[in-house]
């Protein structure tokens, strides 16, 4: 896997040679330059920089949490914590026989509602198109919304979902993580909810700490006894 991890800032040369520049890097001559503050990772044939800061930029297939901003007679506009607004067409919710005369959008989603959605399409010419027609997607009825930095989402999920699985198991909470840094936590018991929220907050604040999983586990176990 990745070797030669390095802390980089914009302009730093990550490496030279025949590598493919991926996420947050550019090629200049034969030098690969980082464009952001982050941790560089060199793979067999490619180089990428994991960012430590920055806003959420939509990517196709990302799961995001959106908040309904407004709607027209044909579509909803979702705030997805990005510089672009998510565009949710009415057909996606009502099905193909949607009719602008017969169906009223406010019956399905109202302003302020939270939805779990997937980025269906996004290119630089238009705002991102989102979809909620899939399993586990759609309106979120209950839970607490938390905001974390989008660059720390991978840390909250952990390697193959290890971190989030651990928090869910310890607290019995259901946690939905949007790639945009919005997280919905729902739990039957108030103590579990508080603990899960505290764990997420901890990951957000201490994302750079090396053995964070152990520390979070310790915190979760300790609270359970008292």
């Amino acid at each position: 896997m990745a070797d030669k991890r390095k802390y980089v800032i914009p302009g730093d040369v990550v490496t030279t040679g025949p590598f493919r520049p991926e996420q947050n890097t550019v090629l200049d001559g034969n030098k690969i330059i980082s464009t952001t503050i982050g941790i560089s990772e060199i793979y067999d044939d490619s180089v990428r920089v994991i960012p430590l800061t920055g806003k959420y930029i939509p990517k196709i297939n990302d799961l995001v949490i959106g908040k309904v901003n407004s709607h027209t007679s044909l579509s909803w506009e979702l705030d997805i914590n990005s510089c672009y607004v998510g565009f949710l067409p009415a057909q996606d919710v009502f099905g193909r026989d949607f009719s602008a005369h017969a169906d009223e959008l406010a019956t399905k989603l109202r302003t302020g509602d939270l939805v779990a959605a997937r980025i269906a399409n996004f290119d630089r010419t238009r705002d991102p198109l989102v979809s909620i027609s899939d399993r586990d997607l759609g309106k979120i009825d209950s839970g607490v919304l938390m905001e974390i930095s989008p660059s720390k989402v991978p840390r909250l999920i952990g390697k193959k979902g290890s971190m989030i699985q651990m928090i869910e198991e310890a607290t019995d909470a259901a946690i939905t993580i949007g790639q945009n840094g919005w997280v919905v936590v729902s739990c039957e018991s108030p103590e579990g909810l508080l603990k899960a929220k505290k764990a997420i907050q901890m990951v957000n604040e201490q994302a750079h700490v090396a053995n964070l999983t152990d520390q979070v586990k310790e915190m979760l176990d300790k609270k359970g006894e008292s």
């Binding site: 802390y7 800032i9 914009p10 503050i37 800061t53 672009y84 630089r124």
Partner: protein, 244 residues
Amino acid sequence: MGGREATMVLMDENGKRCDGRTVDEPRRIMIKAGGLKNADGSSYIEFGDNKILVGVFGPRDVHPKHMSDTDTGILRVRYHMEPFSVGERKNPAPSRREIEISKVIKEALEPAVMLEKFPRTAVDVFIEVLQADGGTRCAALTAASVALADAGIPMRDMVAAIAAGKVADTVILDVNNEEDQAGQADMPIGYMPNLEKITLLQLDGVLTPEEYKKCVQVGVDGCKLVYELQKKALNDKYFGNKGD
């Protein structure tokens, strides 16, 4: 500036300048990344007696809408001096000078910032000069570049800036307020150290071709010193001094 009367001694017989520095010695520089909670990125710089605070927002929606560009993001810079930043109260309304410096800083940052990744958006840079003592545009540009990196805006390189100049027929680095007022030339330089490209070059005064070349060289070397401090500021915030 030019031929203004020099009433004070800008350089003594030992080659020491009016504030005791040698010819190629910059003032004390301190840069701090972060600090403003509500901004997406921020920085604070103390450059000698200059104190400047920078906040960066974005990429975000463009208002008014007609300013947005479908091909690329836009950069908007506001350089502003506080009424208490200088000896006599400065009118807080944007002056001709401030509008010009805003434009100059914007154009010095543009080659570094990769705005084409965010079409139809804007990145706003707000520069507040809390205390001014000559060379604010260079200090502001240096701090703005740190704040942009802190905000996570993709950049090809950092931009470091410092002024070179000429007093008492000698080429000097980092012109202070007295040297700017009474000296013979002032040349602010903005430089991308890794790409080795100059993004800002202004000149107020008269230089011979040889002096001009020397000034640029002294300025570029000075920018490299400033760059190390920018690097340190970002390393301190993000890697807790573990960075190289």
